[in-house]
């Protein structure tokens, strides 16, 4: 008899119940396999190497409830205020994991593009998802992926036809709002980019009114030959909220995946971003930043798997940590034996603004091919005294000079983002997170 993890057992008890797609045999079977997996795995804990710096006790001690579909509403004005100025998107809004049609754009598709809620996709054409749902995010990945596969209430299914250039980005806004008791929202996103297509996906997580909920998100991206997917992820959960996410991409020949990951919110967050470069010419950019203060804890694990020759990856993560904040960065690059002549570059730079802030950073290179170019580096530092001196000698006072240097450091991440409107909007948030926000605004 297999043993059931007690934490998993409690989750299964609380989150069970009917869900869209249950009447379809293969979906029901997959869900029950996922629940069984969860029962066996439990949630990760610090004795697992990959989770050793991130204790999930604050999550496991809370009894998150299943969010209620009927209360999937939010103030339309507040939702409107979250629009990115100057950026036209196809926008879907979710409240605590449930699709909120009334808050979303009415007309979601375009030529060569279909966008549906997961519930609608299950209802209208479940067969189309048979080989896709959980194909890239295995239920074995962690207890959280099993949990999401078993209990996702809703999400989005996006298909881009071959050779289609989708002009407007697809924007998924995931709102976390208080609902009596803390709830667990579990959105599932599935994107298929047909060969030689181009699409931009924005996943925007926002906590409203100090919501103390947990978001457990899973995103699967299948990127076909020559396709280009640009993926922005903005994590702005409330300071009382929790955020767990895993992103799983598979890349075909000559495809490009650019992931821009901004982490600002949440008291405790963990994000896993994985891509597999499966064929020649596949190219990946992982660009990210975490801005942490107070007692925030944020853990980022990335994995880039070079599984074919002539593949290319570039990764750059930056962190600014203040107060008692704690960051974890683990960047794994795997190069298979046959993956000759690949290039992989990784860099993780951190600024600690307080003696009590902490970062654990670790590159992990596993290289089995012999003709490769790989580099990695990690820095943990304070602001550069020479630069401070230089600015001060130009008449900038100390506080403003510090702020400007921090801003310039963060800008190194933001400037890699292609969408200008988003970049400008984001710069505002970045400045807000800096201790010298007011002073920086005088200059930029």
């Amino acid at each position: 008899m297999s043993t059931v993890d007690p934490i998993a057992e409690r989750l299964i008890e609380r989150l069970g119940g009917e869900r869209p797609g249950d009447s379809v045999d293969w979906i029901a079977a997959l869900r029950s396999r996922a629940a069984e997996r969860l029962a066996a795995l439990g949630l990760p804990h610090t004795k697992i190497e990959d989770w050793k710096y991130t204790s999930l006790k604050p999550i496991t001690k809370r009894d998150f409830a299943r969010p209620d579909a009927a209360s999937a509403t939010a103030d339309a004005g507040a939702v409107e205020a979250l629009r990115i100025p100057g950026l036209e998107t196809h926008r879907l809004v979710f409240v605590n994991g449930h699709f909120a049609a009334a808050l979303s754009d009415r007309d979601l598709g375009a030529q060569g593009l279909t966008v549906k809620s997961l519930a609608a996709a299950f209802a209208e054409d479940p067969e189309a998802l048979r080989d896709r749902f959980a194909a890239l995010a295995p239920i074995d990945f962690s207890g959280f992926t099993a949990l999401n596969t078993a209990y996702a209430d809703d999400g989005a299914v996006i298909r881009v036809a071959p050779k289609t250039q989708v002009e407007r980005p697809i924007e998924l806004v995931f709102l976390s709002t208080p609902q009596g008791q803390p709830v667990m929202a579990q959105p599932r996103v599935i994107l298929d980019a047909g060969h030689h297509s181009e699409v931009t996906l924005i996943e925007h997580f926002v906590g409203l009114d100090d919501a103390a909920n947990l978001t457990n998100a899973v995103t699967e991206l299948k990127i076909d030959v020559g396709a280009q997917v640009t993926h922005y992820r903005l994590q702005r959960e409330s300071r009382k909220g929790f955020h767990i996410a895993s992103i799983h991409a598979e890349q075909a020949e000559n495809s490009r995946y650019a992931s821009h990951n901004v982490q600002i919110g949440g008291q405790l967050s963990r994000t896993d971003i994985n891509t597999a470069l499966n064929a020649e010419g596949a190219d990946t950019l992982f660009n990210g930043i975490y801005l942490l203060n107070g007692r925030q804890h944020s853990d980022t694990h990335t994995r880039i798997n070079h599984l074919a020759p002539h593949t290319y990856s570039e990764e750059s993560y930056r962190g600014i940590l203040n107060d008692h904040a704690r960051g974890v960065f683990n960047g794994r690059v795997y190069v298979a034996q046959n993956a000759q002549q690949i290039q992989a570059y990784q860099q993780n730079d951190n600024l600690l603004l307080s003696g009590r802030a902490e970062i654990d950073t670790k590159p992990e290179l596993e290289i089995y091919a012999d003709d490769v170019v790989c580099s990695h580096g990690a820095t943990i530092g304070r602001l550069d005294d020479n630069m401070l001196f230089y600015l001060r000698s130009r008449g900038v006072d100390e506080e403003a000079a510090r702020g400007l240097l921090l801003y310039a450091f963060a800008e190194g991440t933001v400037e890699k983002m292609g969408l200008e409107a988003l970049r400008t909007w984001l710069e505002g948030f970045v400045i807000d997170e800096l201790p010298q926000a007011e002073r920086v605004r005088e200059f930029v």
């Binding site: 710096y53 204790s55 006790k57 007692r295």
Partner: protein, 107 residues
């Protein structure tokens, strides 16, 4: 100001023993040394192990993972592989003998 959190009655924690409590999502180990109570964060500054599970030696807690010793009174790291102190917290005993601890860092 954050609230005091009950740990146990004074008589329930014997000399050189400890209890772990959750103080607003921070795990705290509360020790009794000769009737005086001290509190440390349940984290080893070497590599993040939980200190609870370790044993008390003289006035130190020994990290169960690689054996670093921390002063129970001051939180200081006394032996490698840990070099930095772990966080300490104020403890009080109420009139009825309840041991309480508080995390004042966010006041």
């Amino acid at each position: 100001m954050t609230d005091w959190v009950d740990v146990a009655h004074r008589d329930e924690i014997a000399h050189k023993e400890y209890r772990v409590v959750d103080v607003d999502d921070v795990e705290v180990v509360v020790f009794n040394l000769d009737g005086e109570f001290y509190a440390l964060e349940d984290v080893c500054t070497h590599d993040g192990a939980e200190l609870s599970g370790g044993h008390v030696e003289d006035e130190c807690i020994v990290c169960p993972r690689h054996g670093a010793k921390f002063s129970i009174r001051s939180g200081e790291a006394l032996t490698p592989p840990a070099y930095e102190a772990t966080e300490t917290f104020p403890v009080r005993v109420t009139e009825d003998g309840t041991v309480q601890v508080r995390d004042p860092r966010w006041d």
